[in-house]
């Protein structure tokens, strides 16, 4: 993949925290490119600097070294063309579902009738058409996370960044959400970076899986996933799927 058509390009990015016990290398140096419309999963154990990576891409934390470029513009501060979905839904409890989805638009002062309609369409896409007027405390964990996904997409971001979005859900809901997110991705064709520690989740959804080492997180392996799209329940039964998962699993248990 050439640098030219990369949506997100991380080059030798590293982060060192200054702590009372001296400098702590949290991340990298690591390099990876995400192409337009590509789904990249970042797979790693806890404490490999995944959250740090998230902060760099969102512009909340400047890298100590290297460069991060999104859509041709270096990421130096928070910007409005990234959509984020956290592990917890992080919705506003005092706003209903519809207003939660529209919140980024309101914050950015871009509210219009068109956006209003788009919020409705997004809610329909994530299967919450009838819940626009509900409040978060009236929804299940899976439904809240769907609202968060719709909110992450409302401002038509260049990149959707997801930090273990299903980790807080029960296993059954998680599996269902994984399949649904897959469908959403097929429809929106966004560039996605998914941070996860679930191997099957990464393999099922991603075009490429980048495996991070324990702290400081470095990319130790990149697996290209050749599974045919659209992917569904049948995909998980394919020998190719199982074999890929197995190969990745061995990287952690050598």
């Amino acid at each position: 993949m050439s640098q030219a058509n990369a949506k997100l390009s991380l080059k030798n990015v590293s982060v060192t925290y200054r702590t009372s016990r001296g400098p702590l290398d949290a991340l990298g140096p690591m390099s990876i490119d995400v192409a337009d419309g590509e789904f990249v999963a970042i797979l790693g154990p806890s404490g490999c600097g995944k959250s740090t990576l998230l902060k760099i891409v969102t512009g909340l934390l400047p890298p100590s070294g290297g460069s991060a470029v999104l859509n041709g513009v270096p990421i130096v501060k928070p910007r409005q063309d990234v959509g984020i979905v956290f592990q917890q839904p992080t919705l506003l409890p005092w706003r209903n579902v519809f207003d939660n989805v529209l919140e980024p638009i309101r914050v950015q002062g871009k509210y219009s009738q068109e956006m209003h309609d788009k919020a409705g369409a997004l809610l329909e896409m994530v299967g919450l058409a009838g819940f626009a007027g509900h409040y978060p405390h009236e929804l299940s964990g899976g439904m809240k996370q769907r609202v968060a996904i719709a909110r992450g997409l409302i401002h038509d971001p260049q990149l959707l960044l997801m930090d273990e979005p299903f980790a807080a859900l029960d296993a059954l809901t998680r599996e269902q959400m994984t399949i649904e997110l897959q469908e959403i991705f097929e429809r929106t064709k966004k560039s996605v970076v998914l941070i996860t520690h679930s191997i099957p989740e990464a393999v099922f959804m991603a075009d490429r899986v980048a495996v991070l080492s324990p702290r400081p997180g470095r990319i130790i392996h990149v697996e290209k996933i050749g599974l045919q799209r659209p992917r569904g329940l049948d995909t998980m039964a394919l020998p190719e799927f199982t074999a890929t998962c197995d190969r990745l699993r061995r990287l952690f248990t050598h």
Binding site: T58, T90, L92, P93, W94, V107, Y135, P136
Partner: protein, 263 residues
């Protein structure tokens, strides 16, 4: 609609009060307590009638309620503004917060005579007294509330490109709402206390003044009557705040945010 359960919840405390009044009534008779020490309920009722229907108490009730409301508003608004400033400016917090906490250990009731010297009889000194007493619970609870946001929500807003002002109003203030109301709830009861103390010390109007004056006349029934009126005002005020609390902070269960700071 009033459900059966809510009706019972309303009636049960009333039944308790009725039983207490009965004990009061017969206790006095059985132990032959003289009426100049503890008046029978009937005498208190009669005093209430005299004051309320005769109309002599109304100007005092108005004076007391005016002092409560204005002192409460002044104290709480100052508390809200200051805790908002402190929550946003770290230097200010480190400079001011410990001082305010230290000042809290002064028994403010002891300041009442000084306040009378400074602000005169009646409304002036009362408002200052009440504001001083109301300030702290509201201030501490709001300060805690403004820190009780979900940090991920702040990250999300910053990543959206939200300004500090937007984060404050859209995330921090609503997150603090439950705590703010807990503070308002404590303060409203204290407002009553502050008013009565100021009125007892020196005032020509208000229920506290009536109690002091009745005390000189050994009119214990009237003193009791004033206490009953004060209790009623207190219960009504605190119920009102609770009602507003539930309406405004509809997303939190009632017990979720109650940081009680004792006086």
């Amino acid at each position: 609609m009033i459900t059966k359960e809510r009706l019972i919840n309303l009636l049960l405390p009333i039944a308790t009060i009725a039983i207490l009044v009965l004990i009061w009534h017969f206790g006095i008779k059985i132990f032959q307590v003289p009426a100049y020490l503890v008046p029978p309920p009937g005498a208190v009722l009669e005093a209430l009638q005299r004051g309320l229907i005769g109309g002599t108490l109304w100007p005092h009730i108005v004076a007391t309620v005016t002092a409560i409301i204005s002192g409460y508003l002044v104290g709480c608004i100052m508390a809200l503004l200051l805790s908002a400033l402190i929550s946003e400016f770290d230097v200010l917090e480190r400079a001011v917060y410990p001082v305010i906490v230290a000042f809290q250990s002064i028994p403010k009731v002891a300041l009442a005579p000084i306040l009378v010297v400074w602000f005169g009889f009646d409304l002036g000194s009362k408002v200052v007294m009440v504001a001083l007493i109301c300030f702290f619970p509201c201030f501490v609870n709001t300060s805690i509330g403004l820190k009780s946001y979900n940090p991920e929500l702040i990250d999300l807003y910053r990543a959206m490109g939200a300004s500090r002002w937007q984060i404050f109003w859209r995330v921090k203030v609503p997150s603090a709402a439950g705590h703010i109301f807990a503070g308002l709830q404590i303060s409203v009861v204290l407002a009553l206390l502050g008013t009565v103390v100021a009125e007892l010390v020196a005032s020509r109007r208000g229920l506290g003044h009536v109690i002091a004056a009745a005390g000189l006349d050994f009119d214990v029934a009237m003193m009791f009557a004033c206490v009953v009126i004060l209790a009623t005002i207190g219960v009504l005020a605190s119920q009102l705040i609770q009602l507003i609390h539930r309406r405004v902070v509809f997303w939190e269960s009632r017990s979720a945010a109650t940081t009680v700071v004792a006086h």
